[in-house]
Amino acid sequence: MTSSYSQYRLAPQRGTVGRVLAKGSPFRRLDWIMVLSALGLSLGSSLLVWSATRGRDSLTHGDPQYFLLRHLTNLAIGLVLCGIVVLIGSRRLRTAVPVVYVLVVLMLLAVLTPLGSTINGAKAWIQFGGGFSIQPAEFAKFAIILTMAVVLSARVDAGEREYPPTRSVLQALGLAALPMAVIMLMPDLGSVMVMGVIILGILLASGAANRWVFGLIGAGALGAGAIWQLGVLSKYQIDRFAAFANPALDPAGVGYNTAQARIAIGSGGLTGMGLFKGTQTTGQFVPEQQTDFVFTVAGEELGFVGALGLILLLGVMLWRACKIARQATDLFGTIVAAGVVSWFAFQAFENIGMNLGIMPVAGIPLPFVSYGGSSMFAVWIGVGLLQCVRTQRPIGI
């Protein structure tokens, strides 16, 4: 493996298009396998969202394409955001992290003020006019990744230390804790859970001492045990949590959702009932089917073949993301990539897992697939971050 910085140069005097397409330009150096698999997921998911919503008159205001169009619009915005991130580039991004962090924390705080609005029991949204709303917690995910990456990698990338020192770890955890605490107040426990896993992935990738990694896992386990033992949760809440395994515990709520999701997926069989032909989907038996339970549409209408294809696409994307993390030239890039991998992977596992009835039900969207603007924007910004990490490294690696 040889590297040569001399090969990295901008092509001489060409048009804009020429510059973008020139050898060695960021565009040419994107990980196209990953971008295309993410794009494939997003485009394919528009059919699933369409199928799940075209009959839901109460939501679509009578326009069967309502959600399809909005989903595609969200995707387009997401792609633009991704492009912007790539153009900013890793180096400049690193200096902008404090701004991102402060902005996101302010947005999160704004949710708690009367500006925020409540959906499904969590005050987690800011509504703008025209039915447009954002969920700042989604943005907090990449904000935490970036912030922790900056803090943890500073001394290492400067060549002062081999691993992040205790001080940096504590700083990073402290910075991550603030937005998480705000989100906890909403309360949006699902997002907090995702962030916990992201932090774990980041500590792992940063090379921080084992005691931090295991300490965090231990703290999580202790916390869960304490909640269980101290009776903080009522029986009803425990039943809700356990209903994924035994729908009879909460037959009208989560249990119903779980049972219907399982029926939808199970009845799909090998090749599914065909798009728009699933009886569970057309009969609207699965609540939240365009968002958290969108995977059931794939399961019922496209069958094992289609749903496994979806999982494989996610796999390809995550495999490429892992590769980017491994090939990053500095610790900042490594942490960012590993953070994004942890984020996507956990959300995908938790979401599909709850659809399949092996994970508790939590309001966590399936990256690239679930309907929802903030989530779509955030995951494409995540893709942008991964591409930054890749384009930053020298050619030839």
Binding site: G207, T279, G283, A307, A325
Partner: protein
């Protein structure tokens, strides 16, 4: 490779990144595995669940087939009634669990509020009728005879009657056409039980029971339920999560049930029922010298059988009841009454379930047995007034003696001692009290060959077998009762029962001389059903063939096409050669002309010269009760059997009734004049009734019509025949 690769990264980070990657990919593999398990491994379970989820079945009741008599008269039909039903599900959702609504409903219907409440409660082990034993999700009928005005009141004030509906429904109607009751033969319907619905859940079409279905529970309704019931229509609607209809998942149309043509003639049936009832009334007026009180005549039965086919022309059982009591759910007090001792169980069909000793009517069997055993039909046998056998004196009826007489005369005058002698002789020949290894047992064997001691196989449920008390039965009976007998024997009493118990305890398993001789005249432990006797006397009439008795002749589609013919079935021959048959024929004719029944037939103006009848009377003694009257008769076409419990002698109690039945059938007046125009059925009806294209029967039936022919040009029958024709022709050419 150095510890710090060109990425500037330590080995620890590299390893951790690989761990992260492995972790991520194994999570995805877990998802894939679970997906396979749900969709491929257990997918079929969920397909069913999904169907149950989104498909709602709307049931369209079908019309039950009619039961027709031999000329197409409707015995059991249908009529539209306004049925008021209450949905339990809806009641339970109301604050007071529907009490107020039921009270209002009772008011409108003019019924006691408690009756209405009782009708809609569910049956269980502790709840007696009235209660609902159908599905709790099915609307429960409160009344099936609402007036239009009541129905309007309920439907107009719907807000006052949540969960209550009033709509026209097709209900069973037992027509009583020509005055024929026929309750026990027709049977009745009742709603399916939850259990039956669940058990047939996976079946298709007619086999599947739905909560609205009514099932035949007795009589023809039960045996031919599958033919009559039809297929309930099911409209399978696809619904969404709110129950809104979003499409159709297929429809099974309602198919009306087929009609059942029987061999019953409603008019003959009426005559039989009336004469049986009258005979019982008359018997109750007669004084019984033995018990010093009037006869009780508590129950009775009569059968008219077509001797050439075994088909039943009429079958009556007394006491009887109104079969329409069952329609729309039987009322509590009616059910109680029908199943109580006071009413003497009118649900029983005593023609096939009533068992009693046949008395002397059994002697035709004994005569055939004697012939089989080798006794000469031409010989004379001694008929003393009494015989002492095994230390017991066996007397003739009214202690009469006739000297040395022929077997035929013994039948005519019903001389018991002749048969005692023959049976005793045979019993001795078989080894007496120390029987041979393989005794001939002619008298028992012959009875079984006459079809006694076994079901006749008639197309009615719960037929009794009767009983031939042979050696095997004696042993089995002894084994079952020995302990009780011996216990009673030790009690030291001196009454008749204890004495019998003593005797039985000692050697009740043995065929004693007394058992053998008593059996030969149809007494003792012998039991027969009226139908068994009708079948035997039919065989005597038709030259010896035992037919399987049938009531149904054919199953006919609602548009009048033949679906299935129920052909007469020969079960075998009675063990009597032509000579024996002729001999018995002559003897039973003598019973009418100068024997024990003469005073009720030729003596009462019966034109024996024009229409020859044969008979045997029987008067069976029953321990602790008055005598059973048995009269078994036949003409060239019909066998008529009548029996009554505690009613006196065979000829005395039943003679007039049976003669009048023949008078009605053949159109004979009291003076013996025969008027064919008044005859109800001078020949058994062989043909099926003719049907109009709409399925209704044409009355009256003309003998010239062939039921196989299409009823009108262009009727479906024509098409079938035409379709068959070319094939036949092609085959013919091919051969040429």
């Amino acid at each position: 490779m150095s510890n710090i690769p060109e990425t500037g990264r330590t080995q620890r980070v590299t390893i951790r990144l690989i761990v992260l990657q492995v972790l991520v990919l194994s999570l995805l593999a877990t998802l894939g595995g679970r997906l396979w398990y749900l969709q491929i491994r257990t997918g079929h379970e969920y397909v069913e669940k999904a169907a149950g989820n989104h498909v709602r079945e709307v049931v369209e009741p079908t019309v039950r087939g009619e039961i027709l008599d031999a000329s197409g008269r409707i015995l059991a039909g249908n009529e539209a009634k306004l049925v008021v039903s209450v949905s339990r599900t809806s009641l339970l959702q109301q604050k007071d669990r529907g009490k107020a609504v039921l009270a209002r409903l009772a008011d409108v219907l003019g019924m006691p509020a408690k009756d209405v409440q009782d009708k809609v409660r569910l049956c269980d082990a502790k709840t007696a009728q009235p209660c609902w034993n159908g599905s709790p999700y099915q609307p429960i009928p409160v009344t099936k005879a609402a007036t239009t005005q009541q129905a309007m009141q309920i439907m107009e004030r719907h807000e006052d009657f949540p969960g209550v509906t009033a709509q026209p429904t097709s209900l069973r109607r037992y027509t009583g056409v020509e005055g024929a009751n026929l309750a026990q033969v027709l049977g009745y319907l009742s709603p399916v039980t939850d259990d039956e619905v669940t058990k047939s859940k996976d079946k298709e079409g007619r086999e599947r029971r739905l909560p609205v279905d009514q099932i035949g529970r007795a009589g023809l309704e039960s045996v031919y339920d599958n033919d009559l019931r039809g297929t309930t229509g099911i409209d399978r609607l696809e619904v969404d999560n709110l129950g809104r209809v979003i499409g159709s998942a297929g429809k099974t149309p309602a198919v009306p049930g087929n009609n059942l043509v029987t061999s019953i003639d409603a008019r003959v049936q009426k005559a039989v029922e009336d004469n049986l009832a009258q005979a019982m009334v008359d018997a109750r007026k007669a004084f019984d010298k033995d018990t010093k009180r009037n006869y009780e005549a508590d129950s009775g039965a009569a059968v008219v059988m077509d001797v050439h086919t075994g088909r039943i022309v009429a079958m009556a059982s007394a006491p009887t009841y109104d079969p329409n009591l069952w329609v729309g759910g039987i009322a509590g007090k009616d059910y109680e009454s029908l199943t109580s001792k006071d009413s003497n169980y009118p649900l029983l069909n005593r023609a096939i379930q009533g068992q009693s000793a046949p008395g002397s009517t059994f002697k035709v069997v004994s005569a055939a047995a004697a012939a089989q055993a080798g006794y000469s039909l031409n010989g004379n046998y001694n008929c003393p007034s009494s015989m002492t056998i095994g230390g017991r004196e066996f007397k003739n009826f009214e202690s009469k003696g006739y000297g040395s007489i022929s077997l035929a005369r013994a039948l005519e005058v019903s001389c018991d001692t002749v048969f005692y002698g023959l049976a005793y002789d045979q019993w001795m020949a078989d080894g007496g009290i120390k029987p041979k290894k393989e005794p001939a047992d002619w008298f028992f064997k012959t009875a079984k060959q006459f079809g006694l001691g076994a079901k006749t196989g008639i197309d009615l449920p719960s037929e009794a077998t009767g009983r031939i008390p042979d050696r095997q039965w004696k042993q089995e009976y002894y084994d079952a009762n020995k302990d009780a007998w011996c216990k009673q024997a030790q009690s030291g009493g001196n009454d008749y029962g204890t004495l019998v118990a003593k005797e039985n305890c000692a050697d009740g398993n043995q065929m004693r001389a007394g058992d053998a001789v008593n059996y030969s005249i149809g007494q003792g432990d012998t039991l027969v059903t009226p139908l068994q006797m009708a079948r035997i006397y039919s065989a005597l009439s038709n030259g010896g063939t035992l037919y399987r008795p049938t009531i149904a002749k054919a199953v006919v589609s609602p548009d009048g096409k033949l679906v299935r013919e129920i052909a007469p079935h020969e079960d075998g021959k009675i063990p009597a050669d032509q000579r024996t048959l002729q001999y018995i024929d002559e003897a039973t004719k003598g019973v009418i002309e100068q024997g024990s029944a003469a005073w009720k037939f030729t003596g009462a103006g019966w034109p024996q010269g024009k229409i020859e009848l044969h008979a045997k009377t029987g008067t069976a003694e029953v321990f602790g009760k008055q005598t059973t009257s048995y009269l078994t008769t036949y003409s060239r076409d019909y066998a008529v059997v009548m029996t009554m419990s505690q009613a006196g002698t065979g000829s005395g109690a039943s003679g007039d009734a049976v003669r009048r039945i023949y008078q009605a059938i053949y159109g004979v007046d009291d003076k013996g004049n025969v008027d064919n125009g008044k005859a109800l059925l001078s020949k058994p009806q062989a043909e099926l009734p003719k049907f109009n294209p709409d399925g209704t029967a044409v009355h009256p039936v003309s003998f010239f019509l062939d039921p196989q022919q299409p009823t009108a040009p262009g009727a479906p029958g024509t098409l079938t025949l035409a379709a068959l024709e070319p094939t036949t022709r092609t085959a013919g050419r091919g051969r040429a």
